[in-house]
Every structure is written in C-alpha cells, then in structure tokens.
Symmetry: C2
Subunit: 334 residues, 2 copies
C-alpha cells in the first residue's frame, strides 16, 4: 500500500494493516503491490465505486458512514452479480482540512463493514494521499462467483418470458435524503425511513448464491428502479413490463404515497426514480422465480414480482391496469 | 463501469469504451463489473495509485498530463516488481467547475499511455462521478509476472552481499518541480530537466523481464531515492550502504551540483530526496548484477551501481569516501 501523506507512514500500519486480517497477499501493506494467487478460482468479478464528500455524503456526516457507504455501494454490485467479495483495495484522498484523527473512524467503519457485510473480506492494498478539496474514496472489490456458476450474472441476460423480481423495499433512501436536505419533514412517521436508509441497506451475502443459481440477468438498484430496469432492458435487447403498484414500499413510504390520492402515482414515481436502494433487480424463468422466492424468503429477504420480460424494447409501465407514460427522469444519469 | 455524472451516460461509451481495446472481460463497459478469467495466470500483482489536482499536478497543467502521470505512477510499481500490466480500472472524480470537454483529453492521454507505455493494457472498468472539489483519479493495475517467476520482487528480498543498482537518472523531476513552482530558474541549462521530467520518465516494459529474472529486491523510486532505499533496508532487515557520488544525474543536474563546490553535497542530497523519479532501485547478487547490467544496457537503459547490502540495518551514506550523516528528511512520507 502506498502513502503520500507527509510524515504519516505509520498511519497505514496502525489504521489499515489490521484490515488485511493477516492475508498473505497483502504483504502486511509493507510493499507497493499485493499478489493474489488465482489457482483456486476461475476468475475475478471486479467492481469499483467511489464516495465523494458533497456528492455521495454530507461533510457533516460521521465519517465512518462514508466508509460504510463506500463498502455497501460496492458489495451490492457483487451480490447482484452472484459473487462474494474476496479482496478489497482502497484509494483515499484525505482533506488537509479534516482532522487526521477522524481517519481512525473512517478505517474503523471500513473494517467493520468489510468484516460483517462482506464476510471477512481482507483489505489487500491501495493508496492514501492528501487533497485541498473534499474527501474522495474509491474501493475496488475482487469477487468470486458463488456456487458452480463460472461467470457473473449480467445486465444482458434477460430472456423473453422471464419474471422481473426485486428484493427488499424501494424508496426509503430517497425519502431519507429529502429529509436530510431539508426538502421533506421527518413527521408523519417518515423518521423511520431516515433511520433505516441513511446508510445503504444491503441484502445478506447469501443472496449472491441464489442469484448465481437462478437469475438470467441482474443489476443492483442504484441509479433508480426505473433507470436500472431500463439498463437491463437495453442491454438484454428486450422489453421490461413493470407494474408500478407492485413496487415494494416500506409501510411509512406506502402511507406517504396513500396520504393524498392525487399524489399517489407521482409520489410512487419519485420513489421509483430516487435510487440508492442497493437491492438486486433480476429476471428469472417463471420456474426459477418460484424457487428463488422460496429460498430468498427462507433467508428472511422479501421478494416482489414486478412484471415480465417481453419481445420489444425499453421500459413499459402500468399502474392499476392503466399504461403510464415514462417520466422525463428515470433516475441518476439517465 | 458505473457513472454518477448526471445526463452523461454516453461519456463512458464515447470516451472510455474505446480504451477497452475490445477485451471481452470489460463487457464493453456496459455492466457494473468486469470479469477477468484466471486460468492462464498464477496470480495477479495489483497496484493502485492516485493523482490529485493540487497535490500531484497543477490545476493549470494540460489535463492529459494528469492522466499520463496516473498511468506512469502505477506502471512503474509493476515494472519494479517484475510484472506486466494486463488490466486497468479507473476511478474518476471530475470537478463540476472543469469543462466537461476536457474529459476527452483526459481519456486520450490515458488511452495513449495504456497503449504505448503499458503494452496495450485494456481499461476494464471503473467509476466516474463529479465533485465540487479538485480532480481526483485513481488507477488500479492488475499485472502478471514476467518470465518464469511466479511471485513479485518485493522490498523485503535483499540479501547480504547484494549489489544495489538504480536505472536511469535521479533528480530531474525535483528540478522540474522547483522550476514549475517558481523556486528555481530555468536558466543554466535546467530547462532540459523541465522538458524531460514534467511527465514522469518510465523505463521500457522489457525491464520488468530482467527484474523478474535477476533481482532479489526492488522498489520504484517515488518517495525519494534515500526514502525508498530505507524502505528496502527496513523490509529486508539489512543495511544499505550507498555512495552519494555514484548517484546517476543528468548532465544538467550534474552541472548544477558542481556549479558551487560548497553546495555540491547539499544539492546532491536534495536530488536524492526529491522523489518522482520512477526508476527501479534493486538489489541483486554480484553475478546477477553483472548479467542485469549487460542486458539492461542492451535495452538502452543505463544502470548504475550505488553500493551494497550488508549485515545491520538502515541506510548508510558515503560521499568521496567520507561517511555522511543522514539528512533530516529522506523523501516524501519519511
């Protein structure tokens, strides 16, 4: 692991070396590289995502949240592809203006989530440096496919006739963000959304096994349910038909949608385009969908059937059996 | 490859997808992950380094320089370990205040160096996002060992009796930085240093083969020659004895050192602690050192013998046959 922070060579050893969990591939973070043998694996599924102060978290957030958000953004990509994380690399640009003492909190949050969310995934290397600007951190995760599957579940694998499923609930993260930005009030029971979704929720790692076993296509809902469904449809060269009234909401989000009948559909569309949900959206044959639902519910993970894959292209929405035009904005980046 | 930049999903396809060179592991940057099969390799040598605006490059620099500096910082780590790059991943935090059009220049510089410096290394994935602050970019390179060697040449492998060699010239990068910061004048022929070293110099990839074949220990000189020699000594549990008068300088740097006899040693120490040289510093048995020098010179890479590895610990300096105390500062981070 390399370190550009002046006079702080010991930071890597004191804060980050414990996160290697003694994995020999890390050389104790004493070298410039890691060396990961490949004999035991058919290949690595590799993902990389950043968190940026002012973009993905607020400067006033506890800094361990930023580290946890970083891990969860990345691991949700691996889970959605049916893979387990095996190695992590961290690039950290630490603001000169932020107390150096907070780096211990950052490392602690990172270590906790690598251990408990990622199944004892070791940190094998990376780079720390300083910046005159806001904090920027990038995590790279190398994963291995679960079970006997030898390649990741892609966006492009959806088959005509597949069911479209999503796990967990959608929209709490959007409500939480609106409350934190002062755009919504935490009244009407919505503080429960804030509490749940300030940190990304994540499915259990065991869900990766079921996705590897059963899914034809998969994506984690990060840009927004409608944006990510569109990605699936585009990459698969098929049409996705989704029922907006099936989108799984938390009881509080459901109550907010139902509070004003005229606003029910617009509010549901806001939740379906908010993003940051980090739940897998997947397509499976009807037979596999049944098996997946049973096994997923046995893990305690709720699953909802949103619709189907059909001949055609793009995203098609219905609400209470009426066709609904696509909103102008489907989510982040689309 | 993921993209958080609003309304810019096509940027990845237009600017970065060509850098995949059509490698199937990238899925054309259309998915959230890459998948790198491992059947043909014993393991991956993995390095990760950042460039940060205001820390590693100036805001006024042409932005393709930042991309090239990023590649060169990383590949010099792999060359020093005896490895060839096989896959690259880019995390990019792009300033909202910087014209988006410059991203094409950044991608072009990155692509040029991945192609010509790294031997057609494909970009397989990564993440682009926006920041309110300065540009931060992190590159991850996965490499494979050259020749028949199956694990990287570490900092920790130096053996008592080894010779200590360095390739290329040391110190031009420090002089170039001083000129760019306005601390030194570009007169006295020093503009040649500026011209040569504004972008990191890099040895040819073929040097990795020789390092893999012959070296016991190796590190790239990035923190400063004395700092990196100390890293080698510490990790190897041995002493490094170096002759300061042997340090290879460019003719212009040599002239600057010699211009004032009283300043010759202090100036030489400044060059030996400046860093950013990106030349491998390695230790080899005397027999291997001879073979390495012959083969390296056949590649057109000059090699200099700086001293030897002995029983003991730490760094020991001599100049004109006199012992020289270590300077207070050995380089970046130490």
């Amino acid at each position: 692991m390399s370190d550009d922070t002046p006079n702080e060579t010991n930071l890597i050893q004191s804060l980050f070396a414990p996160l290697t969990l003694g994995h020999p591939a890390s050389f104790g973070l004493h070298d410039d590289v890691a060396f990961l043998p490949t004999a035991a694996t058919a290949g690595f599924v590799i993902t990389q995502d950043q968190v940026i102060e002012g973009t993905h978290f607020l400067a006033s957030d506890p800094i361990d949240w930023a580290a946890r958000r970083l891990v969860r953004r990345n691991v949700s990509d691996l889970i959605a592809k049916g893979a387990h994380p095996r190695a992590a690399f961290l690039s950290l640009a630490w603001p000169k203006a932020r107390p150096r003492g907070e780096m211990a909190d950052f490392a602690a949050g990172l270590g906790e989530d690598l251990k408990h969310v990622c199944g004892n995934c070791p940190l094998l290397g990376g780079d720390t440096s300083t910046t005159n600007g806001p904090l920027v951190a990038s995590l790279t995760l190398l994963g291995e496919m679960a079970g006997t599957r030898t390649s990741p579940v892609l966006r492009s694998g959806a088959q005509v006739g597949d069911r479209v499923l999503v796990t967990g609930a959608i929209g709490d993260a959007w409500i939480a963000l609106q409350i934190r930005l002062g755009h919504m009030s935490a009244s009407d029971g919505l503080e429960a959304c804030l509490k749940r979704a300030t940190l990304p929720q994540h499915p259990p790692m065991a869900l990766a096994d079921l996705i590897a076993q059963y899914a034809n296509a998969s994506i984690d809902v990060s840009d927004g349910l409608l944006a990510d469904a569109t990605h699936l449809a585009t990459q698969s060269g098929a049409a996705l038909h989704l029922n907006l009234d099936h989108i799984p909401l938390s009881p509080e989000a459901q109550k907010w949608c139902d509070a004003d009948p005229d606003q029910s559909l617009p509010r549901r569309l806001l939740l379906a385009t908010g993003g940051d949900d980090y739940q897998p959206l997947l397509t499976l044959s009807p037979t596999h969908a049944q098996a997946f639902c049973a096994a997923s519910q046995a893990l305690g993970v709720p699953v909802t059937d949103l619709g189907s894959v059909a001949v055609g292209k793009g995203l098609h929405l219905r609400h209470h059996d009426h066709a609904v035009p696509l909103p102008a904005r489907l989510g982040w980046g689309i």
